[in-house]
């Protein structure tokens, strides 16, 4: 059986002193190692400068900016607010629907536009399907980082079903440009509701299969339990959000606590980490929060599909949107956490300033605090559990 609550052994607490078999201690030197921008486990172009003492990490300095694509400059120069949506897509490319919705919601709240009820239900269905797709990639690539290749293939196979649904609706597999300010770009095709219901029925046993394969696997638990513990006060001080915050035991979800859309009409639960395999807030807790959130998303989608009303999919707004002078900050729950858009409008058709508050940027800044004293292989697990997408970190 797995023995839980295993504390780290004492060599971790005494860096710099390794005992030989005769009991003599060896004084060692520290090295600076580069886990460079091209690395199979850094989930993109992230550079980590690691100060190691043997195998134990003394300090980690992340260097970002290798994918800085000037989103905010482009947003200022676009001649229409709707033209910013494709750029917002490409920020967090694994959760494009959530990004589109975040930006569209910010502009709609600034202009006080009401969208038709059918649009609200479509947006919730798309956002939850996108959440499942994003968590599937997070779980699959995390498994590969831990050395398990099969969950990656299974997760991508399931994700292809979701991408088929998206392609049926708006024609694109990855970057949709679907949720526009005031509505959505295309109505749902005739077979969408039926196919989405089939997908939910198909997907539920697959989560059980994934749990049997990976979640309670002894090697996986030994590699992830008690590693990278994020205490509650550090998490809140560093403004972590999403599964990082919920994995530390704080029950906080913007869909319930700062509500938007029609989430209050559905029954679902916020999942938190409880320290089942190790301490609360370790890597395993963050992982299990993602798996359980997928189950909850399926529940929300089924309820939304059953209750979706008829209607038109675009509200009556002019083609060239012109908000009044003003500014607003609106936040939504993307699969990685709190995605916020701060928009300043100066009364013209293009925004004056758009600032995107990316959850992965903020979650990554807590890495130096939680990675001290672990080994290099544990560092890979911690970075994988942070679930960063470099497009969002660098914008």
């Amino acid at each position: 059986m797995i023995d839980s609550k295993v504390l780290p052994t004492d060599y971790v607490t005494q860096p710099g002193r390794f005992r030989t078999s005769t009991g003599k201690t060896l004084k060692t030197d520290e090295m600076i190692i580069n886990m460079g921008p091209q690395h199979p486990s850094t989930h993109g172009v992230l550079r980590l400068e690691i100060v190691v003492d043997g195998e134990i990490v003394v300090d980690v300095i992340p260097h970002i900016g290798y994918l800085h694509r000037c989103f905010e400059k482009h947003a200022e120069h676009m001649t229409n607010y709707q033209q910013v949506i494709p750029y917002a897509d490409r920020m967090d490319y694994l959760a494009s629907m959530n990004n589109d919705w975040g930006f569209a919601l910010a502009v709609e709240r600034l202009m006080k536009i009401e969208v038709p009820p059918r649009v609200e239900y479509i947006r919730v269905i798309m956002a939850e399907l996108q959440r499942i797709a994003s968590h599937l990639i997070a779980v699959g690539t995390f498994g590969i980082d831990m050395g398990a290749f099969t969950p990656f293939l299974w997760c991508f196979r399931d994700r292809e079903h979701i991408l088929d649904l998206f392609e049926m609706t708006c024609g694109a597999r990855l970057l949709y440009n679907y949720i526009w300010v005031g509505g959505v770009s295309h109505d749902l095709p005739a077979l969408f509701v039926e196919k989405a219901k089939d997908f939910c029925k198909y997907f539920k046993p697959n989560i059980v299969e994934l749990n049997n394969l990976l979640t309670y696997n002894e090697i996986f638990v030994k590699r992830t339990a008690n590693v990278g513990v994020l205490p509650k006060d550090v998490a809140v001080n560093f403004a972590c959000s999403g599964p990082m915050l919920r994995g530390s035991g704080i029950s906080w979800d913007l869909r319930r606590d700062d509500p938007y859309g029609v989430y209050d009409k559905f029954e679902w639960e916020v999942q938190i980490g409880k320290g089942e395999m190790g301490q609360v807030g370790d890597v395993w807790d963050r992982y299990i929060v993602k798996v359980r959130e997928m189950e909850q998303s399926v529940k929300i989608i089924e309820q939304a599909l059953a209750a979706i009303p008829e209607g038109n999919v675009m509200s009556a707004i002019p083609k060239r949107i012109r908000p009044d002078h003003g500014e607003i900050y609106v936040r939504t729950e993307s699969p990685r956490g709190e995605l916020g858009f701060y928009i300043i409008s100066d009364g013209s058709t293009s925004p004056y300033r758009v600032k995107a508050r990316a959850p992965a940027f903020v979650n990554l800044s807590v890495l130096p605090e939680i990675a001290q004293g672990c080994m290099i292989a544990d560092l890979v697990a911690i970075v994988g559990s942070t679930d960063i997408v470099l497009g969002e970190v660098d914008r």
Binding site: R69, P86, Y93, R157, R159
Partner: protein, 165 residues
């Protein structure tokens, strides 16, 4: 596979030139450098997953540039990253090929106009063999790009390469 089957249908012997043999060996096992930068990397990963399966073309991802034949530059190349790409390209052993996947590495993509930190096309720092258009290109488009590269390798000749060098 199909090439060998056809040749072995009638008899057990087939005669070819050294060039054809070498080119066939090179194009059937193009090892790829795992080099995903941005959104196109996800489509590249989807191409290597089970639905589209790039491994049946012999393309296996390797982590180090020293063991690879082809570098698929998938995603936006920024100014900060460009010097690293040049260094990685220099570390690859010849014969080496580059596939530029997606519109950002072809020509700057959607960031061509106001991107102050985006390199407008990876061919400003390294030579590119095949350009695959799309934003992002579908996995089938990437597979066609690999097949076009295979055609290019099939037509290579050792004598012409010596003249070029």
């Amino acid at each position: 596979m199909g090439l060998l089957d056809y040749k072995f249908e009638s008899s057990n012997v087939f005669i070819t030139s050294l060039e054809n043999l070498l080119n066939w060996a090179r194009l059937s096992s193009l090892f790829q450098m795992q080099f995903g930068l941005a959104c196109c990397a996800i489509e590249m990963m989807a191409a290597s997953a089970s639905n589209f399966d790039i491994m049946r073309f012999g393309v296996i991802p390797r982590a180090t540039p020293r063991q690879t034949d082809v570098m698929i530059v998938a995603g936006t190349v920024t100014l900060k990253m460009a010097s690293r790409i040049k260094r990685l390209y220099d570390q690859m052993a010849e014969p080496r090929y580059v596939i530029s996947m997606g519109s950002c590495s072809n020509c700057g993509g959607p960031y061509w106009e106001h991107g102050y930190h985006v390199l407008k096309g990876v061919d400003r720092v390294i030579p590119v063999d095949v350009y695959v258009p799309g934003c992002p290109p579908r996995p089938e488009a990437l597979l066609e790009g690999i097949m076009k590269l295979q055609e290019k390798v099939r037509k290579e000749s050792m004598s012409k390469k010596a003249h070029k060098a």
